[in-house]
């Protein structure tokens, strides 16, 4: 691309650093910004800067937070004996959006991935084991994506918690609500048969 302005080029370079955004898309975003009022661009820049200056991580569960404790950990009506372990805060948000979960969370900030050189010490696993050690936790629910990394982390964590008094569980795998059986993959379908639940009227 031939840029006639260094300012535009720098903005395109910066935005094309985002995952899934190439230089052409970045140029389109820059053109959009040029047409927006100054105050809107200033607000966007400030919002991005605040991610690094004003954002904290909860002292207990490592979730993103505006203060020392996140909204869940500081809520006395949540069941602190039930901990749901997730990979990242987007997973926590997804679970929180169901409105069904009344326990607390633990955000690992990643999964064990030997292929990428990420070991147990690179994610917030020890902090979770420390929480369990301190007592008061009865069950640890592991809610990871069904990937090699998710399974590896699940296995490692379950092994680590084996000798403690806490119960470990993992979220159910099966046919999605609204999903059609004929289009389900074999592994999911097999798992949904294996883990069938009692049904009576």
């Amino acid at each position: 691309m031939q840029f006639t302005s260094e300012v535009v080029e720098q903005a395109v370079e910066a935005l094309s650093g985002f995952p899934g955004i190439g230089r052409r898309t970045a140029l389109r975003l820059v053109m959009h910004l040029l047409k927006r009022p100054d105050v809107e661009v200033a607000r966007m820049a400030e919002a991005l800067l605040k991610l690094k200056t004003d954002l904290h991580f909860c002292r207990i569960c490592n979730n993103v937070s505006d203060g020392e404790l996140c909204q869940v950990c500081s809520n006395p009506s949540r069941d602190a004996s039930l901990v749901c372990v997730v990979e990242d805060f987007s997973d926590q948000m997804a679970i929180e959006s169901t409105g069904q979960y009344r326990g607390v969370y633990h955000v690992l900030g990643g999964l064990i991935s030997p292929m990428d050189g990420i070991g147990p010490e690179d994610i917030h696993l020890q902090a979770l084991l420390d929480r369990v050690q301190q007592g008061g936790i009865q069950e640890v629910i592991m809610a990871f994506s069904a990937t090699v990394e998710g399974d590896t982390t699940m296995y490692y964590l379950a092994r680590k918690l084996k000798d403690s008094a806490v119960k470990t569980s993992c979220i159910a795998r099966g046919i999605a609500v609204g999903g059609e059986i004929e289009y389900a993959d074999e592994i999911t379908l097999a798992r949904s048969l294996q883990q069938r639940t009692p049904y009576s009227v």
Copy 2:
């Protein structure tokens, strides 16, 4: 979406203002930023702010520029008697990238679009007519996209320049280089036959 942090929410809101970026994608971008070094986020915020503070528009052609004149208008080796009119600076960049054009440009910053309430006075058309009035221009090439807005603007501009001494032309429409005839739409194919060019060996 249930946000546990206002800082994250504000960043997601800001980024989802971009065209084609929804709240889910914005959240993914924010998660990416959280994992990047502080200095990179600061550089991005600065690059966006600079779009509003350090960016100028060329006094002659209205193209984005770092100074009062853009790189093309301030280059004495460019043919100032040949003006290529484009909708936006991304079109100018595309033409400049061909490396074939030695004339100068005029960036309208939009096209006439009665449907969207954009009239000739809302784009930089008068500035172009003033440039023609001042003399020194021999030909105006209209390089607009083949849309209703492009055709409308082309018609309006050609009418306005009809009584002046300048020649008006528009870029050729036809089968793309590498394009296959059987997949071309009828209008393009008809146009490419109509506007056939002499070929001899």
